[in-house]
């Protein structure tokens, strides 16, 4: 398009040159990736060679044995996994709520205690689910109990973190009103804060359940019960068709639970 006024063609100001910080950062990222690839001795040749060799694992994948999923033991393992995820989320999620509230300035006026709670929360968050499972398998032995304990702490970590972020954004007005009327801090949290965060908190519980369901498969590999223990059993015997059958079923269950959970959560917020 030409401008109506002669000699007054509008041009946007020249695009500013990318900052040297951005250039240097991108360069560093590329260099780091290349260096790490070299140091872990990654090679496409090896990858292709291994994949084209006769491979029992891959052959099992092509003929998964879904029928044994309905065996007593596998079914029980499935139910155990669901139970683990539900119980772990419920208990951990309930504990996470006060932990998140006691870490806020309005929920805990006592500064040393608040710092203590925040530190505890940070420690719980920094330990990954698998490490919790290893810790508890070592402490209380193989079985469902270490799995439950691991998911309990993992749920606290996830739910308290997400809830804490929501608590940062609550409307402080009702808090002031409750305190000004002579309410105690727990009363204030219950009447002025909880209604504000309840939808988000419920959504975090469901999200925690999704994560726990997935995590429970891995936990079994280190001896913490559930479907993972069953998968580990067949893997140890080299029965790959059975392994893949279980994985397939597990995938379906997780997929369905996640779809339902996502649609429910969308309605909550």
């Amino acid at each position: 398009m030409t401008s109506v006024v002669e000699g007054a063609v509008k041009k946007p100001p020249p695009t500013p040159r990318p900052s040297s910080f951005a250039l240097l950062g991108s360069l560093l990222a590329v260099v780091l990736t290349v260096i790490t690839a070299i140091t872990v001795e990654f090679s496409f040749a090896e990858l292709i060679e291994n994949l084209t060799r006769r491979n029992l694992v891959v052959e099992g994948l092509l003929s998964p044995d879904v029928s044994q999923v309905w065996s007593d033991r596998s079914l029980r393992a499935f139910i155990e996994t669901l139970q683990l995820a539900i119980l772990g989320t419920a208990t951990g999620g309930v504990v996470a709520l006060p932990l998140a509230m006691w870490a806020t300035d309005f929920g805990n006026p006592n500064t040393p205690l608040r710092v203590a709670v925040r530190t505890l929360n940070a420690v719980i968050r920094s330990i990954p689910d698998l490490l919790w499972a290893l810790l508890f398998v070592t402490a209380v032995g193989i079985g469902v109990l270490p799995g439950l304990l691991a998911l309990f702490f993992f749920s606290i970590a996830v739910v308290s973190k997400l809830t804490a972020d929501t608590l940062d954004g609550v409307d402080r007005g009702p808090i002031e009103a409750a305190l000004a009327s002579g309410a105690s801090v727990p009363q204030m949290l219950h009447t002025a804060v909880l209604p504000q965060i309840l939808p988000a908190y419920s959504s975090f519980l469901l999200y925690g359940f999704e994560l726990n369901l997935r995590a429970s498969a891995v936990l079994g590999l280190v001896g913490a019960g559930g479907i993972g223990a069953r998968i580990e059993f067949f893997r140890g015997r080299g029965e790959w068709s059975e392994v893949w059958g279980l994985v397939l079923m597990f995938f379906l269950v997780v997929f369905i639970v996640e779809r339902v959970s996502v649609s429910v959560r969308r309605r909550l917020i």
Binding site: G173, A177, L179, S181, A183, T191, P195, Q196
Partner: protein, 259 residues
């Protein structure tokens, strides 16, 4: 009822919210506090229920020394003092009745309130307070479903449900339109006259201050620069309080006449 003796509030950043304020408010008075924003109106009102502690001087409410109170004693004091806010400070997702019941929390043991187990007396007091501001039929509406004026009436009901001896109102009509502002001010006036509750209201509209204040206290830079009956407030007096000439923004209606 309320007595300040050389009360000063110094904030951690060094600014003085109140600077050596001494005044006495008698039971049943309706006092309006005026001043520019930042003059210390909000600070003054919040020292009375201990939301803002005074850093030096003395403060007595009903003979009790607020400046030496423990947390427990402060809660007991606050139970007797209702507060009304500029932003209403309602819980949006809760019902009108639940919002008003917040005013009863001080009389409910914590464990009972966590299960929402309010006694019949508490519920009746909340209903009575809602009736007084004409909002009883809306008890089960969500606070979000109400207009600004209705929300402030719920805020007043919450304060009334406390059965307070004193009501503090911090710019209660600053977010409302002129007719609604008058309606809310009239509610406060009636409560003061019918129930004999000592009332302290911050306002920045001077015509409202003159219309409703039995007594007007003028604050400037944390100091009391005027203290007298509403009739004594001429535009000259207000210019003295504000330290500048008055503009149309200083009154609720443009053609308001002062004094």
């Amino acid at each position: 009822m309320i007595r300040l003796v050389d009360a000063t509030v110094e904030y951690p950043n060094g600014t003085r919210g109140l600077d050596g304020v001494s005044l006495e408010i008698e039971p049943g008075e309706f006092v309006v506090v005026v001043g520019l924003s930042g003059a210390g109106k909000s600070t003054l009102i919040r020292t009375v229920n201990g939301l803002v502690p005074i850093t030096s001087g003395e403060l007595y409410v009903d003979g009790d020394a607020v400046h030496t109170m423990t947390r427990r004693e402060l809660r007991r004091l606050r139970a007797q003092i209702g507060m009304i806010f500029q932003g209403f400070n309602l819980v949006d997702r809760a019902s009108v009745l639940d919002n008003v019941l917040v005013g009863r929390l001080h009389s409910v043991p914590t464990w009972r309130s966590l299960f929402g187990l309010y006694s019949r007396v508490d519920t009746e007091l909340a209903a009575e307070a809602l009736e007084r501001v004409g909002m009883l039929e809306r008890s089960h509406s969500r606070a979000t479903a109400l207009s600004g004026g209705q929300r402030q009436r719920v805020g007043i009901a919450r304060a009334l449900a406390q059965q307070p001896k004193v009501v503090l109102a911090d710019e209660p009509v600053a977010s409302l339109d002129p007719p609604t502002s008058h309606a809310v001010m009239q509610h406060l006036q009636q409560i003061n006259q019918n129930l004999g509750i000592t009332t302290l209201v911050n306002l920045h509209f001077l015509d409202l201050a003159v219309a409703y204040g039995q007594r007007i206290i003028g604050l400037r830079e944390g100091k009391v620069v005027f203290d007298g009956p509403g009739e004594a407030c001429t535009p000259d007096v207000f210019e003295g309080i504000y330290g500048r000439s008055l503009t149309a923004e200083d009154t609720l209606t443009d053609d308001a006449e002062l004094g």
